[in-house]
Symmetry: C2
Subunit: 623 residues, 2 copies
């Protein structure tokens, strides 16, 4: 019943040709690949404000110059990534680019950083979405964690159904979001409606600056604000999704994203200064800006709801990314192979579960609070940026197409600035949470190595050409000469009869065995067996010990010649023992308790013996 | 590793003839069978005091007349049970006696009441033992529940090892307990050492009586005090343990127990009145009495520690009782058959776990507080008393040995008084917790019926003589005519080679099958297979759906003629499909994650098909 309910939620299996093969236009590229980047305006400016507020209200105006610096970095990134699109029209994720140009070590670093990044994107987007919701509907604030987990659950189920990449369906909310933020900026710049109305919550700006406005503070604020740049690489990863001419369309989308992001960041920074926005309890910075610009009316609530919806969809885009990345890693033997298996809805089911699990744990750990997650964010992203830009420089140097020097210079500038930014993040945010990333990334790399090492050993061991240990000769597995079928029984019943019929079909060499304890009172099975006469001899194993398993295992061992050590070439005349265990199999799960599970213990004990095959023969009851 | 640690704790398997077959003397009967009864002086008087204290300090002296009434009831019970020993020298538990004399219904009631009683004995004894310990060492008070569970764990492990019934080892602490309580009474009556020293804790006696001293209060106090009588039936259950002449020795022990219990109860009641004992926070009544009599010195601490130890051993005696009772019930098909299986240490392992689990839950539920448990106690015990005395009356009437009328009169008196007491318990303690028992006992009886009903159905269904549904003819299971072996493969490796060797040994009719998804990029397996040429054809199943399981299941279904409905007589020429699934089996559990578990999904999908046998062939890796 639970199984069929789950099937209803997830949907029927899909045929391979039913896979969504949408081909998207430049505009559709925004909802499909850029939601993470676009929606980062919901938490980027906030991250800057929170850092600046530690130096008191007078420092808050610094948001504008810092945003200008971030926008400058964004411009470099947009042009760098337009070149990535040129160079890798097949999709140039940081993992693929650094694997090709920089070698295995760099690609593992990129993969680890990307995994951390995807998980954080999900957590930050959902937390920020819930933040937008609870800023508008303040009584919901104390349900923050439950709201976060509910949204995560919905997004996870959507992706298990395989609805993850529905660019067209996401276009409307994306446009609504851009229009909404645009309206906030335009109205705010021209004629703010509620400029002097008090916003809910109380101010969290320290009344006397605890910290001088120095270089370190500015760097910290810059580092925090760079969280607004996460996601600009996604378009370059998804080039194959575009309709032809794909490279051109993808580059258009990248430029469109850059322009929109620059406009929104600068607009919001201007308004933040104009409205003297500082952190407030229970209110996000975006909520304060739009509340001040529009007033807390239907327009404000619409913007808030759209923001929540689009942030949830932004989390959704990570679900498009991480399972694909982990499937590539699994194919390269860096992660468990199960991650490369597509489920019957044609999605990488295990990858989706891993992402949902990790981001769920993270959301619970930080209580759904964006501010705690921001310091962890951006480090992974910028590591990926640096690696793929560096990889591009190597790429241009190797290929040397016309104008390669200029192209290499652009990507080189991108690599240097993002590397510089990464160092700034690590230094300024280390104690605030970046240490988590500094531990997580190397741990993933160690994991990759150990997984790959294990698979290598397994491959050598199961390879037909590898000589088995100790002999030096290649393996030649002889066919056993005789099959002895052994049926453990504890009575005469239809179950026994059925199993014996199967046994006789397989081999003429069948025995039934039963175990009798020396101190048992029950009558011997032998006379009844003689009377039934099923054509199979019954052997009674007598035991001083109260264990059914051990006497049968010893008997089976006696039936087949066990070689001295596993893997050596067997002497000719090996006997294969096939143990068929009759099992009563009730239809209702709770009835299992009423049957002793000796069959499982026996099967487990026999499982790893060479030349022994164990099968449980279930006799299904009607009830 | 965990397995071998557990083996170290539990001990090596024992041979049947290594079962402890101590034969005990009359004196050894006390530690072996009477600890529950003897140690009930640790909580019986306390239960009376707590009820009386609700009517204020002036009511406390009523403990003496109430104890006299309880001692009277005890005398009747001791003589009744001496007659039970005469009548059932083979061991006369309430279940066996009522089954023989009163029929199935009464025996089920007795069994249900006894199960409740055993669980409560464990919980009350351990809680009272910890109460004695924390009264002496007051800082331990806040660790009450952990201490209770630790003692429960030690007792459980001891019993899983099969050390449960070591009468000789328990003799010393039992004698120490009797001597200690004796010393408290003698010193307290003659020359109490610390009579006027304040005891720790604060008084819990209400300063103004909330309740008039009426018949109801006295009845309530009597009912509470009857918890001191639990366990007097145990000697009659254990007659076979005694050395010959067993009946005589058992009767001596019963009498000895009666005399000791009467002396201790009357002595403690006298001291309680003399010392004006009332309930105190963190102090048991016994602790106050012995502290006042002896002073809180080494002698007091010794008595407390011995009391704790002996109460833990009293809990232990339930572990000797319940598993035997549930094994009898399992043999009568009233409980899961697993409860009748003896483990390799010759004990009824599952029964021990059931008792440990239920009493652990109970201890946690009441926070290790004896006072909460006492109202639940005694109802089960006295129901058992009533049923076995009534059974004895029937027994004497049927057999009519010389002097049967007198004997029947004694047991009749026992039956009437205990039945009366049971009614008093139910009425006076119903809201205080007895309702739990009033629900638990009928629930157990319903459980017995449903389990028995299920086993009855199964037996009819698997019986060889029962005609299978629909046909009317007795079952004649034909031997399938041909065995088709199917080996699902996903590559060429030593694992495949080994499985194919086994397959060829079983039948000449072997095929390997592999599944290929239409959108897969990997190269076809066919050419490599042709080159390897293992002598077995490879069939490639092409699938539009991303599931390995379904194509293989369909293929297997196509190979064997499936009858229209399970259980009908098969057409001649049935084919038995034997599916051998090669499996990589890593030695370390954590490495399992690195292998996809498709084999399990496939085995599960094929398991319940008629004429299909599934076996997984593990290839064990070295590391």
């Amino acid at each position: 019943m639970i199984g069929s309910l789950w099937r209803r939620i997830i949907g029927r299996p899909l045929a391979s040709d039913q896979a969504a093969k949408e081909q998207i236009t430049s505009l559709e590229g925004l909802p499909a690949l850029s939601l993470d980047a676009l929606t980062s305006v919901a938490y980027g400016p906030e991250a800057i404000v929170i850092v600046l507020a530690t130096a008191g209200a007078t420092a808050l105006h610094l948001i504008f110059p810092i945003t200008v610096a971030i926008v400058g970095l964004l411009a470099i990134l947009v042009f760098s990534y337009r070149q990535v699109i040129d160079a890798y029209p097949g999709g140039g994720g940081a993992y693929a680019v650094s694997k090709e140009n920089l070698g295995a070590g760099a690609s593992q670093l990129a993969a680890a950083a990307l995994i951390v990044d995807y998980v954080l994107t999900v957590a930050v987007s959902i937390a920020a979405g819930v933040g937008a919701l609870t800023s508008a509907f303040t009584p919901l604030h104390r349900h923050t964690v439950s709201l976060c987990l509910s949204i995560l659950a919905v997004v996870t189920v959507m992706n298990l159904r395989g609805l993850g990449e529905s660019a067209r369906a996401f276009l409307a909310p994306t446009v609504a979001f851009i229009v909404g933020i645009g309206a906030v900026i335009v109205v705010g710049l021209i004629h703010p409606i509620a400029r002097h109305t008090a916003q809910p919550g109380h101010s969290l700006v320290v009344t006397r600056g605890l910290q001088a406005v120095g270089v370190l503070l500015v760097l910290k604020a810059f580092a925090a604000g760079c969280s607004a740049l996460t996601g600009v690489e996604a378009i370059a990863n998804g080039v194959p999704l575009f309709r032809e001419p794909r490279v051109k369309r993808a580059k258009q989308t990248e430029l469109l994203l850059g322009v929109l992001l620059v406009a929104m960041l600068l607009g919001l920074a201007t308004l933040a200064v104009r409205f003297h926005i500082g952190p407030r309890s229970g209110q996000t910075v975006l909520s304060q800006i739009s509340g001040t610009a529009l007033g807390r009316n239907w327009a404000y609530y619409s913007v808030s709801l759209v923001t929540t919806a689009v942030l949830a969809l932004a989390a959704n885009t990570s679900f498009g990314g991480l399972p694909v990345l982990t499937s590539l890693l699994a194919r390269d033997n860096y992660l468990p192979h199960a991650l490369a298996i597509r489920g019957d809805r044609l999605v990488y089911t295990y990858g989706i579960w891993v992402l949902a699990g990790l981001s769920g744990v993270l959301l619970v750990a930080v209580n759904g609070n964006t501010d705690t997650l921001i310091p962890l964010f951006a480090i992974g992203v910028f590591t990926g940026f640096t690696l793929s830009q560096t990889g591009l420089v190597v790429h241009w140097r190797r290929r040397r197409p016309p104008g390669w020097a200029g192209r290499a210079a652009i990507n080189g500038l991108g690599a240097i600035t993002t590397a510089g930014a990464t160092v700034i993040f690590l230094l300024t945010k280390f104690t605030a949470g970046a240490w988590v990333v500094a531990i997580a990334v190397p741990s993933f790399i160690v994991l990759f190595h150990r997984v790959r090492g294990y698979y290598g050993e397994v491959a050598r061991e199961v390879d037909l050409d590898t000589p088995p240990s100790g002999t030096g000769a290649p393996l030649d597995i002889p066919t056993p000469q005789r099959v002895a079928v052994i049926v453990p029984v504890n009575g005469i019943s239809r179950i026994t009869a059925e199993t014996l019929a199967y046994a006789r079909a397989i081999s003429p060499d069948v025995v039934a065995v039963t175990v009798r304890f020396e101190d048992e009172d029950d009558p011997d099975l032998d006379p009844a067996w003689q009377q039934w006469n099923p054509g199979v001899p019954l052997i009674t194993l007598r035991s001083k010990f109260h264990s059914v398993v051990h006497p049968i295992v010893s008997y089976v061992d006696g039936q087949c010649q066990v070689p001295n050590s596993p893997g050596t070439t067997d002497a000719p005349g090996t006997i294969l023992a096939l143990v068929l265990i009759p099992v009563v199999s009730p239809r209702k799960l709770r009835h299992r308790l009423l049957h002793n599970q000796l069959d499982l213990a026996l099967a487990a004990a026999l499982r790893y013996r060479p030349h022994v095959i164990v099968a449980r023969i279930p006799f299904q009851l009607r009830d």
